[in-house]
Symmetry: C2
Subunit: 189 residues, 2 copies
């Protein structure tokens, strides 16, 4: 880490935020009018994508712990394990989830990002995953990410900034997924 | 604040968490089997309720700012303002929301808590509020609460503990509401 590159707000304290990553982030949702409004309502800005990209190395380091915890947690509800065994396998899903969580920290929101989430939503709808369990899984994921932030980031201000960006990207994914569920429900009316 | 009462973990540092509030909190969901599992999956414990109750004075102090921000944010999507004007009024809703947000910090989860959330869910379903906007409103609320935590709580560890408890209670409310939406959708099949 080049601390010299990472000063902000005139503070001499090192920050985990690497502004040189800005060029690698992307916020391009020109053809999605509602989504533009959603992103404004949750105040997701380009800088949040830089924060997420800066967090990526920490998430990558801990990704196996996150994924193990994620699946252990689903054992609380046996119907969830049945859904998995019927439609896939824990081993296969661990691999997909591992890739998916890391992609959340690419700092890219574009057509590809949106299309992938809609596809994932439709898969979950088809297997009959209820929104309440979906939300529980997201909260478990958030708690894992907060633990990583606590471990890796020193100051209160920086930790809260990290959590803000993380909750924004998780919220956006939930919005996309729940909207797709909603549309499936309307189709079957 | 009686700092003497508020030592934890053998640390001599004052904490905002007031363990004497434990007697006023309540976690009683005996007749709700799924909800018990949900609460276990998001790791919501009695201590989270104590944390929430300890945060309540800060939330009360800033409640008008939270509520103003909440409604200003809805102006991004004109259909939301139309829904409000057709079914209610901003002034009336501000009063209801003001009471509702404060109740989140009562530290009580029981039949009354659950029934109220189901009733609120049904009202929102009836007025045609889409889940994606609902989720945006929750994220806006979370960002307001993080700002308050940043202002009022000194250390990183305590701030993260506060945020954990806040995200858990918001998640639980989302689970209840989205599950009620889901059941309404199934009814209309
Ligand atoms: C935070 C919540 C979740 C995320 C981010 C997530 C992510 C994913 C991803 C990325 C895929 C792969 C989609 C693809 O093949 O393109 C997937 C598939 C799947 N997920 Fe999830 N998932 C979540 C929650 C759950 C839960 C709670 C269950 C419990 C039943 C579940 C069960 C499945 C199953 C069975 C598949 C495989 C379907 C198939 O292979 O056709 N997921 N999920
Ligand atoms: C965090 C999200 C939200 C919370 C916590 C919340 C909370 C509440 C509460 C406590 C009530 C009163 C229910 C009662 O009368 O018992 C209510 C009613 C209502 N809410 Fe929300 N609300 C949220 C989001 C929204 C949004 C985004 C809209 C935008 C359209 C909205 C529109 C309304 C309307 C129109 C009513 C009144 C219905 C009536 O008077 O019959 N709410 N809400």
């Amino acid at each position: 880490m080049q601390l010299g590159l990472k000063k902000r707000n005139g503070s001499s304290k090192g920050t985990f935020i690497d502004d040189t990553l800005a060029g690698k982030t992307r916020l391009n949702i020109d053809h999605h009018e509602d989504l533009k409004k959603q992103i404004r309502m949750i105040n997701l800005q380009k800088q949040d994508l830089v924060v997420l990209a800066s967090l990526k190395p920490f998430v990558q380091e801990k990704i196996h712990t996150i994924v193990e915890q994620f699946y252990r947690n689903l054992e609380h509800e046996s119907s969830l394990m049945s859904i998995i065994e019927t439609n896939s396998s824990v081993d296969r899903l661990k691999k997909t989830l591992l890739a998916h969580i890391q992609e959340m920290f690419d700092g890219k929101i574009d057509d590809d990002f949106i299309d992938k989430r809609l596809k994932i939503a439709h898969i979950h709808f088809k297997i009959g995953l209820e929104p309440k369990w979906y939300m529980c899984a997201f909260q478990d994921l958030l708690l894992s990410l907060i633990a990583i932030i606590n471990e890796k980031i020193q100051t209160k201000e920086e930790s809260l900034k990290a959590i803000e960006s993380v909750t924004k990207i998780l919220s956006l994914e939930q919005q996309l997924v729940l909207d797709a569920f909603q549309q499936e429900n309307e189709k079957t009316h």
